[in-house]
Amino acid sequence: MGVPIKVTVNGRQYEAEVDPRMLLVHFLRDVLDLTGTHVGCDTSSCGACTVILNGKAVKSCTLLAVQADGAEILTVEGLEQNGKLHPIQEGFREEHGLQCGFCTPGMIMTAYDLLQRNPNPSEAEIRHALEGNFCRCTGYQNIVKAVQYAAAKMSS
């Protein structure tokens, strides 16, 4: 039996009937075709599925789609505005903050959450904020630099 939900994703309103057990990440990927949000684990450990829900970073594999009823969600697809990259996206490119790209959307959304709360984070604060997101490629160093790049750009 489907449960009706209404959500706003990247500024667009959606209404859908979903299986009560459907995870939010599967709703985004399978129903809305927003495949930028990835699934990297089944224990809410890796952070590849991180999205912004009502202004806060959440792991979308840890929420049911029905729990998002009425929520406003921002995914990686919603960051670019009028063909212009968000400074965090730009930072990832400029600082080579990604290799295979799989963890990248989750990293970017976690960084978005951090910079919203703390526009001028220290290196230690950035590393602490990212510790719930796994990257197997970059060694994290250039991800930290990407966030520093974005922080500098956003505060200037």
């Binding site: 990297g40 295979c100 959307p105 590393r127 796994f134 990257c135 197997r136 490629c137 060694g139 250039n142």
Partner: protein, 792 residues
């Protein structure tokens, strides 16, 4: 002059990834697609008594429930092994059948037992609950040293003592003689623990069959689509290769684990053909833990014979390599030809002998994982060298310098012939170490270490000087060593009439950045803009037959193939240019994308020549139209990157916690195309290497249950555990490939594990601790300190 090569060009592939528009296998949705759920063995060793599919088959949405018997009935074979390593006495390697789906017996937790295919992922999973499988549990063995003992449970009835092979390299008699003459012998028993590669993208596969054309497409998370197609068609399913296309689109990291031909690739292909609907399977992470091939898992005894002045005289190594329950695609090569052959390291040790036992156990198969054999060799070598330095009261840097192979460029001075078969191409090992010591201000760290010790703080410095072998080749040689594949690579350069260029490469990028780095080379070579070049990879319908990406081979082998193809393009284009400029070829010079008649301003551009090749109205009489060239490149030798790393750690003796304070790396990859990309490779490798040293371990209990089967138990390295690394390079070009490049993908994992292990041992020297087993968790470090204190 170069416009792009050698510069930190920002990656062209990034845009799709940072905007969420990458296209990974699990992102692909085909019309009519159904979902496979794989039911896996909960036992390490058991007889399958019966499988009752009746209830599951009638569950909502279920289309099929398939078992190993169905697969066999359809004539599907076992998974092949791509490398044969025979016993020392010449007996053939034991190569038991590796079933795609188990039929009468299971041999590791996670082995596929049945497949449920349903309209949705959830329906398939629900139906799995209704499947009744009766097992009769049998005793299991997980430790490779116990597995060879008399009376140990046998993984395969036809492999006595659970041995797949035993193998040796080096001169045993000469090494024994060296040990007789030695002033002292330093020895150590160590374990190179089992790791799970854990690319962040879980494996996935989609089979798609078109009954109209009899074409089959397999989308798979693979590092080498052509190899998968060859194995799938010729060895497993008996399909005509020209009717099968394998696509590896964006792949979210591999680290070796996506080289191999996997059960699930066969399952979705077979099921899609059977059901005539696209079939998708995507691993859940806990499924990845028990089905992705694991890495490392060696038990080793190492002995170093030396003079009291620190000169190395001989090295003896005995290793039990855990291969898991079946031989994975390249498994036999990893603990042999990619391990024993690296035991010369960067030292002049005149006598080396190594013997390796390849052992079956009731665990997930083990195969190549980033570094593959070379981190294992480096770990034992660099640990024993450090122990020797400690016994002789020498600084670890000094004992290394005393034994380094002197510099050689491979041109003026010949390559260095090792005691263990390889001939190094070029090297300057002391230069790399000197640069490292200078960059790290090593002597200042040593001073600080003493100062802090007097304050009760325990800092450790760990060096690792390493060598790597990349771009395994030439094919004839690796064939003689047991490889059942060639190890060349290929590229096709297609110049379009407007002068834009598509390059189709046989290597595959899953994070390495080939779409940028290869394009840098093309753009410079043809004198065109980077944005006028596209690098295409990963689709057997588009690219020439290539061997894919692993062993840091892409640039040295695939890049060299591309350079050769570009040379052919320029050769032909120059003929066209000469005709159009009405000048002999010898009067032309090509620079920055234009052919000039020497000494004049008369010129013609690359796009003009390209257009003439496709609109050949005014054209050289005997020349074919078109501008496209292909090259297959089989290297003359391996390439041998090297370097030296320094880890600085602090150990808290109260808690056993190890903190990485600083990390320095000096690597020599030969010529570098994109320093930004290369540094990224180094950073990532260091974190994986440190992960092995401090955090990661795939641990089984004695019944063969994986105790670290999710990210909650398997400790992945995290952002807050690392300082900013300081990295630098020396440049010693490879003398035998056109790029002078050596490869940069694995050095971090090769050096960092040993460097950190040495650093922890160095920190604990005041406590008399000689060695801490990996991963060096707080508990293990604390226990080592306590044990040592009790002794003293």
């Amino acid at each position: 002059m170069t416009t792009y090569v050698g510069k930190p060009v920002r990656r062209v592939e990034d845009h799709r990834f940072i905007t969420g528009r990458g296209r990974y296998v699990d992102d692909i949705k085909l019309p009519g697609m159904v979902y496979a759920y794989i039911v896996r063995s909960p036992y390490a060793h058991a007889k399958i008594v019966s499988i009752d599919t009746s209830q599951a088959s009638t569950a909502p949405g279920v289309i099929a429930v398939l078992t190993g018997k169905d697969l066999e009935a359809d004539g599907i074979g076992g998974l092949p092994c791509g490398w044969q390593v025979n016993f020392r006495d010449g007996t053939q390697m034991k190569e038991p059948r590796h079933p795609v789906i188990a039929v009468d017996k299971v041999r590791h937790v996670g082995e596929p037992v049945a497949v449920i295919i349903a309209e949705t992922r959830e329906q398939a999973k629900d139906a799995a609950e209704l499947l009744t499988i009766e097992y009769e549990e049998l005793p299991a063995v997980v430790d490779p040293q116990k597995a060879v003992e008399d009376g140990a449970p046998l993984v395969h009835d036809d492999a006595p003592r659970n041995l797949a092979f035993d193998w040796e390299i080096g001169d045993k008699a000469k090494t024994e003689a060296a040990f007789q003459e030695a002033d002292r012998i330093v020895e150590l028993e160590l374990e190179n623990q089992r790791l799970v590669p854990n690319a962040i993208e879980p494996r996935a596969a989609i089979g798609d069959y078109n009954p109209g054309t009899d074409h089959t497409t397999l989308y798979t998370t693979s590092q080498n689509p052509h190899l998968i197609r060859l194995l799938l068609c010729a060895f497993v399913m008996g399909l005509p290769e020209h009717k099968v296309r394998v696509v590896s689109p964006d792949v979210g990291g591999g680290f070796g684990s996506k080289i191999f031909h996997y059960n699930e690739e066969v399952i979705v292909t077979w099921a899609a053909r059977k059901l005539k609907r696209p079939v998708k399977w995507t691993a859940e992470r806990s499924e990845s833990f028990v089905s992705d091939r694991h890495g490392r898992d060696h038990r080793t005894k190492v002995q170093l014979a030396l003079k009291n002045d620190g000169t190395f005289l001989g090295l003896k190594v005995q290793t039990y390599a855990n291969l898991g329950a079946y031989l994975s695609t390249f498994a036999p090569a990893i603990p042999t030809y990619l391990y024993g052959t690296l035991l010369q390291g960067v030292y002049t040790t005149p006598a080396i002998y190594c013997e390796v036992y390849g052992v079956f156990t009731h665990t997930v198969p083990v195969d190549a994982y980033r570094g593959a054999g070379r981190p294992e060799a480096t770990y034992l070598l660099e640990r024993i060298v450090d122990l020797a330095a400690r016994e002789l009261n020498m600084d670890p840097a000094d004992i290394r310098k005393k034994n380094f192979i002197p510099p050689f460029d491979g041109i003026e001075q010949p390559g260095y012939q090792t005691q263990v078969a390889l001939q190094y191409d070029s090297g300057n090992y002391e230069a790399a170490l000197n640069r490292l010591l200078e960059m790290a201000n090593y002597s200042e760290w040593r001073r600080k270490q003493q100062e802090l010790r007097s304050q009760g703080r325990y800092i450790g410095l760990g060096l690792a000087a390493y060598i790597e072998a990349c771009g395994i080749a030439p094919s004839a040689v690796v064939g003689a060593l047991g490889a059942r594949a060639g190890l060349y690579d290929s590229a096709t350069v297609r110049v379009h009439p407007t002068g834009k260029v598509s390059v189709y490469v046989g290597v595959h990028a899953h994070g390495q950045g080939h779409e940028t780095t290869f394009a840098q080379i093309v753009a410079d070579k043809l004198g065109i803009a980077l944005e006028d070049v596209e690098i295409v990879h990963g689709d057997t319908a588009e690219i020439p037959f290539g061997m894919g990406t692993y062993g840091s081979r892409s640039l040295a082998v695939g890049g060299s193939a591309m350079v050769r193809a570009l040379d052919k393009i320029l050769e032909k284009a120059t003929k066209i240019a000469a005709h159009l400029l009405e000048a002999p070829e010898s009067d032309l010079e090509f620079r920055e994308g234009k052919w000039y008649v020497k000494g004049t301003e008369k010129s013609i551009s690359f796009p003009e020549v390209a257009l003439a090749a496709y609109v050949p109205h005014n054209y050289p009489p005997d020349l074919e139209p078109g501008l496209e060239a292909e090259s297959f490149y089989d290297p003359k030798n391996f390439t041998f990157p090297f370097g030296a790393h320094l880890a600085v750690v602090e150990v808290d003796p109260e808690t056993g916690e190890v903190k990485l304070l600083d990390y320095y790396a000096v690597d020599d990859f030969g010529n570098v195309v994109n320093p930004l990309v290369v540094e990224g490779q180094v950073h990532g490798g260091i974190v994986q290497g440190v992960g092995q040293a401090l955090y990661e371990e795939a641990r089984y209990d004695e019944n063969g249950q994986l105790l670290t089967g999710t990210f909650l138990e398997y400790a992945m390295p995290r952002a807050d555990e690392f300082p900013m690394f300081k990295v630098d390079h020396t440049v010693t070009p490879c003398p035998h490939n056109p790029l002078g490049a050596k490869g940069a993908g694995e050095t971090g994992t090769i050096a960092a594990t040993a460097a950190v292990a040495n650093a922890v041992a160095d920190a604990l020297q005041p406590f008399g601790v000689k060695h801490v087993p990996m991963p060096m968790t707080p508990q293990r470090v604390w226990t080592a300190i306590q044990a040592s204190q009790q002794v003293s």
